[in-house]
């Protein structure tokens, strides 16, 4: 019962935060400034609320189709995260023409290479996706994104960017990628034979996802220079003495 509540609670907390962040960016007009982030959150919403829901209700949780769809869509979303990291590179290196010239060439190459290798690996093993292949595939894909994200973090430190928002966004994404990659690696290590570890991944992955969305909320909600932590509203403040 507790397991059920925990897994479902985390899952729905993630959905709620996803929808909240999407609405917040739309409401505040931040989607124009954070177009890549907004597109990524939109794709998360579309997959979680729309496509997966539809496949689940049509074919059922235990069907092969849902299983295939879940992991293929997860791989596509990870590639989306890869694209998001690339957009952060552009944002951080906006004033560093020399560095951006290098990244402009290498990032699409790395992206295409990852996309090609992922597609080939999926194509070869599409028939035996139910084996432990899917976990080692996801582990490698998440890890590749994590490495790129960490490179971006190092670049932010080197450039000494004043953009605090992108720093927090990168940290949030890093937590999600690192936690999930570690979870998949743990399953790959045990050759997908340990049920307890698979159960553990059911907690780790949504927990990291919720953590990422909370940090993103903090990043986009705080004003450019400094956040105001004061909890009191204007109406609760007292007028200055005459």
């Amino acid at each position: 019962m507790i397991t059920f509540l925990l897994t479902h609670g985390l899952q729905y907390a993630g959905y709620g935060l996803e929808a909240g962040l999407f609405a917040f960016l739309l409401w505040r007009g931040g989607w124009k400034r954070e177009l890549a982030l907004w597109l990524y959150v939109s794709s998360l919403l579309t997959v979680d609320f729309g496509l997966r829901w539809w496949v689940l209700s049509r074919y059922g949780e235990r069907s092969h189709i849902y299983y295939y769809f879940y992991y293929v869509s997860d791989a596509l979303l990870t590639l989306g995260a890869f694209g998001l990291v690339c957009s952060f590179f552009r944002r951080v290196l906006a004033k560093e023409e020399r560095l951006w010239a290098i990244c402009r060439l290498t990032l699409p190459l790395v992206f295409c290479l990852t996309l090609a290798l992922s597609s080939i690996a999926l194509f070869w093993h599409y028939k035996d996706l139910f084996t432990r292949f899917v976990f080692s595939f996801q582990q490698s894909l998440y890890f590749a994104c994590l490495v790129l994200n960490t490179l971006l973090y190092i670049v932010i430190q080197q450039v000494d960017s004043a953009d605090e928002e992108v720093g927090l966004l990168v940290c949030g994404l890093g937590i999600q990628l690192a936690g999930t990659a570690a979870g998949y690696a743990l399953i790959s290590m045990t050759r997908n034979t340990n049920l307890a570890i698979r159960q553990l991944l059911n907690y780790i992955s949504p927990l990291c996802f919720v953590g990422m969305l909370l940090i993103w909320f903090c990043a986009v909600a705080r004003p450019p220079r400094a956040a105001t932590s004061c909890a009191l509203d204007k109406k609760q403040r007292f007028p200055a003495p005459a």
Binding site: S136, Q139, S140, Y142, F143, L146, T150, Y153, E164, G167, L168, C171, G172, G174, I175, L177, A178, G179, A181, A182, Y184, A185, L186, S188, M189, C208, L214, I215, F217, C218, R225, A226, A227, S229, C230, A231, L232, D233, Q236, R237, F238, P239, A240, P241
Partner: protein, 159 residues
């Protein structure tokens, strides 16, 4: 197998690194002025003296038991005040919750460093920076509210 072990170790290390980096980014926030002085004086907090002792007297051994107790007392006082002083919601914000967890983790790390004899200076300095942030937030909050010449009951009635 080797690849999985490598990714597990590296990812776990990076996970902890990103958690710490997030906390450090929150702590890096600049305040309009140093609000923490008034809070320190009013509540007789001791963390600035702990920090000064560590920064100015490098060669003197760390008084672990005393510093630990001082930081713990300051932490309890500040978290209580953050929740209850000039806070209509009577609860911590998400960022403050994260920093509270970070402080507690550092408290465990401090104990481990002491046991292993690795030197306690680094975790203590990080803990003082968290306390300074809390005191700054509290000071800023108190500074924002203009009490004027109202009485305590007027203030409470308006909440």
């Amino acid at each position: 197998m080797f690849m999985a072990v490598f990714i597990l170790v590296f990812s776990t290390a990076l996970f902890l690194f990103y958690l710490q980096a997030t906390c450090q980014k929150i702590l890096r926030r600049r305040f309009d002025q140093e609000f923490f002085h008034s809070i320190v004086n009013a509540n007789r907090l001791e963390f600035p003296f702990v920090r000064r002792a560590l920064e100015e007297y490098n060669d003197v051994p760390v008084d672990y038991a005393r510093f630990r107790m001082q930081l713990k007392c300051d932490f309890l006082a500040l978290t209580y005040l953050l929740k209850n002083a000039a806070n209509a919601r009577q609860r911590l914000t998400r960022q403050e919750h994260l920093l509270v967890m970070y402080f507690r983790a550092l408290f465990v790390v401090l104990g481990a460093f002491h046991l292993l004899g690795w030197g306690e200076k680094t975790p203590i300095l990080k803990m003082t920076s968290i306390l300074e942030y809390f005191a700054n937030v509290l000071g800023e909050r108190v500074n924002t509210i203009r009490f004027g010449n109202i009485s305590a009951s007027d203030y409470l009635m308006s909440l």
